[in-house]
Amino acid sequence: MIWVEILSRHRDITARVRIASPEVRIGRGYDNDVIVDDPYVAARHLRVFRDEAGQLVAEDMGSVNGTFLDGGKSRLARIIVDGTKPIRIGQTDLRFRAINHEVERERVARPERGMLPFLGAAALGCVTLGIYMLKVWLTQTSEPRVSTYLTPSLTIIATVLVWAGLWALLSRIFSGRSRFLRHLLIVLVGAFALSLYSEFAQVSAFAWTWPTASTYQYVAIWSILAAMCFFHLREVGPARLWLKGAIVTTVLVTVIAAQTLQQSEAFSDSGRQNTTRLLMPPSFRAVPFRDENAFFGDIAGLKAKLDRDRSQARPVEAGR
């Protein structure tokens, strides 16, 4: 007895035929056991039978286009069938299996985790939203209004849900399961990381007088977004992770380069840095006060940079 499986281009099984006789004939003609509606297949194309040694053998019956083993470039007149590698005739992939073909072991189902992931997602969401609300409150210098809290928080909630939903949809399409909760957790962890980083950048700009983290905040934001996308893609399908990683990294590098270029062009157009010089409560200061003379010494050092800028600007002016 032989099972004949006709595969799609994605290697899903589109049809499976059970043949009771010891030999199977395959082709486009109606005198075959299995009919393949592929114009590149001969009317009588392939014969599968057991040879003297008892192995399953596929034999080309004189087709014009030939018979190939999975991925192979050379046509073969006779192939020993192992049941795993598909055989291509025309543009159709076929697989032949005997009834004693070994299947994978039964997978062990993971124990039910109950409400834990739900609670985790809810807690993380609340914390992230809470941090955001706290920030709004601490920077509120005009009259307090409910809408300054409500509108952005609703926007954030909607964005997170739509983002996770879209990824869940992709998962459903490509892997059959939506895994909404996992996607939601990825978004929430990303949002939490984003808000932590922005706090860190602001505090370091004031407390340590180290504005670099704030100036290059966009690099961190894009990196976090890229990491989120990578984990989403992994949930969609765990195959070819290195390729997905490479794509995400390429996009990330391109975006960061583009934004760096755009910022440096904006700076050379306006001559102004696009950063706010943040103040915080004096108790946040983490470095000692500089002596006045040392500070003015630093400032005197700026003159060399300004003069260098001037000498670089000159050649442009010379054309006037």
């Binding site: 010089r277 500070f295 700026l302």
Partner: protein, 441 residues
């Protein structure tokens, strides 16, 4: 706001001046109106309209006035009337048009940037010319004296305007005569004469938003410029000359600011430096009456200098500003209060012209700073931003902002901004400024 008369709209309109009457015949004529009539009658051969032309197109881009001051064709006008030719001699050229319609080439001999004057030579000889009033140059004019200003306002034709001498402008760094008369765009560079037809000043500017408040450059500066043009007949490299004059003017200005010094005034629990120089205008500001009720009270003083200098049609520079704001929270917590101070303390470097043409990119430095002795001085967060002038070696615009760090619910934001300053001068002034921010005992 003082505007150059020529700087309305895009075209500079110079005044075509009408020549003044010389001699006593006008005064001898009967009736009070005859003085103006007499002056007007004899002025035209001495007056010029000076046009700036685009060299390639041969069409005027701006017009103004000027007047002859010698028999060999030297004439005085405003610097801002001829600034395009001075800065871009390849793109623009000058032409005069006399009252009788004759016209010819004009060459620029010299400029006096601080006093907005220029001297030019025409190919016109043996024409009558104006002479300067000696007694006015020595300060002999009396307030209330009748003066007659001439020009071609808005290119409507030669006009004579009667007005009053009101002395020198107070609170002005550069000497300017306050003339109560209706100067209009197009009269720049024209002469203002006394009843005898002698030049006492040159029309230069008017105050926007005022009524009949106009300004003249005192005649003595024109006489000096004429003198120096006679001594150096060769035309200098004007662009370099303008840079030299601007640098010298800036150095003198900041030397003078340093010498006048600061006095300390009390603002909340702090002492703040306030300049003693008379050429500053100071105003107080408060948000006490604002609606909705402010969540932090601001009391501030703003002092700005009356030292703006016309360098090009798109560059005015030389302004100095000193600003202190004392802020005390009403119901803001310390984080909200810090945000409030953040908004007040952004380093806005205000250039006097378009950035890409005149300035290099800004460079900033910020840090926590304490001045000795510690018990007198509040700890500060200081931001210093500076940009250099592309073409004027050794000149910079600087902004210095200091925010006190001794309390979390009240603070002082002090700001010093200097335009067209030398870097060493800026550091010296900045240091004095920071040291003068003190705690009251």
């Amino acid at each position: 706001m003082i505007v150059s008369i020529s700087s309305v709209a895009r075209a500079l309109r110079l005044i075509l001046t009408i020549g003044a009457l010389i001699g006593g015949s006008a005064l001898a004529a009967p009736g009070p109106a005859s003085v103006a009539e007499g002056i007007y009658a004899s002025a035209p051969p001495r007056l010029l309209q000076i046009r700036t032309l685009v060299a390639d197109a041969g069409r005027q881009i701006s017009i103004g006035s000027g007047f002859l001051v010698s028999a060999d064709g030297l004439a005085i006008t405003n610097y801002h009337v001829v600034s395009q030719v001075a800065l871009e001699p390849k793109t623009y050229r000058l032409e005069y048009v006399a009252a009788d319609g004759s016209h010819g080439d004009v060459s620029l001999l010299g400029v006096d940037l601080p006093n907005d004057l220029a001297i030019v030579r025409l190919d016109k000889h043996d024409a009558p010319f104006f002479t300067f009033d000696k007694s006015a140059m020595e300060g002999g004019l009396l307030k209330g004296e009748r003066l007659y200003s001439m020009g071609n306002p808005l290119d409507l034709g030669f006009t004579i305007i009667e007005g009053t001498y009101n002395g020198l402008v107070e609170h002005s760094y550069n000497d300017r005569v306050h003339f109560s008369g209706a100067l209009n765009p197009g009269m720049s560079g024209g002469p203002t004469v006394n009843g005898e037809g002698l030049v006492v000043g040159i029309n230069v500017a008017t105050r926007r938003g005022g009524q009949l408040v106009s300004f003249l450059v005192p005649a003595r500066f024109a006489a000096t410029l004429l003198q120096s043009a006679r001594e150096h007949e060769t035309a200098p490299d004007l662009r370099a000359e303008i840079a030299r004059q601007l640098t010298a003017w800036g150095a003198a200005l900041y030397k003078s600011l340093g010498e006048e010094g600061f006095r300390s005034t009390v603002l909340g629990p702090y002492r703040t430096p306030e300049t003693i120089a008379p050429w500053f205008n100071c105003w107080a500001n408060t948000n006490a009456g604002a609606t909705p009720k402010p969540r932090a009270n601001i009391n501030s003083t703003n002092c700005s200098s009356d030292t703006g200098l016309f360098v090009a049609s798109d560059l005015n520079t030389g302004a100095i500003q000193i600003n202190h704001s004392y802020v005390k929270t009403v119901d803001l917590n310390q984080f909200q209060f810090a945000t409030y101070l953040t908004q007040l303390s952004q380093p806005r470097l205000v250039g006097g012209g378009p950035f890409r043409k005149w300035y290099t990119p800004e460079r900033c430095h910020e840090d926590f700073v304490s001045a000795a002795p510690v018990q007198d001085h509040p700890p500060l967060r200081v931001i210093w931003c500076a940009q250099a002038y592309r073409e004027f070696e050794g000149l910079y615009d600087v902004a210095l902002i200091a925010v006190t760090q001794d309390h979390s619910s009240e603070g002082l934001v002090s700001r010093l901004s200097l335009q067209a300053v030398g870097y060493v001068d800026a550091i010296a002034l900045g240091k004095r400024f920071l040291e003068a921010v003190q705690i009251t005992k």
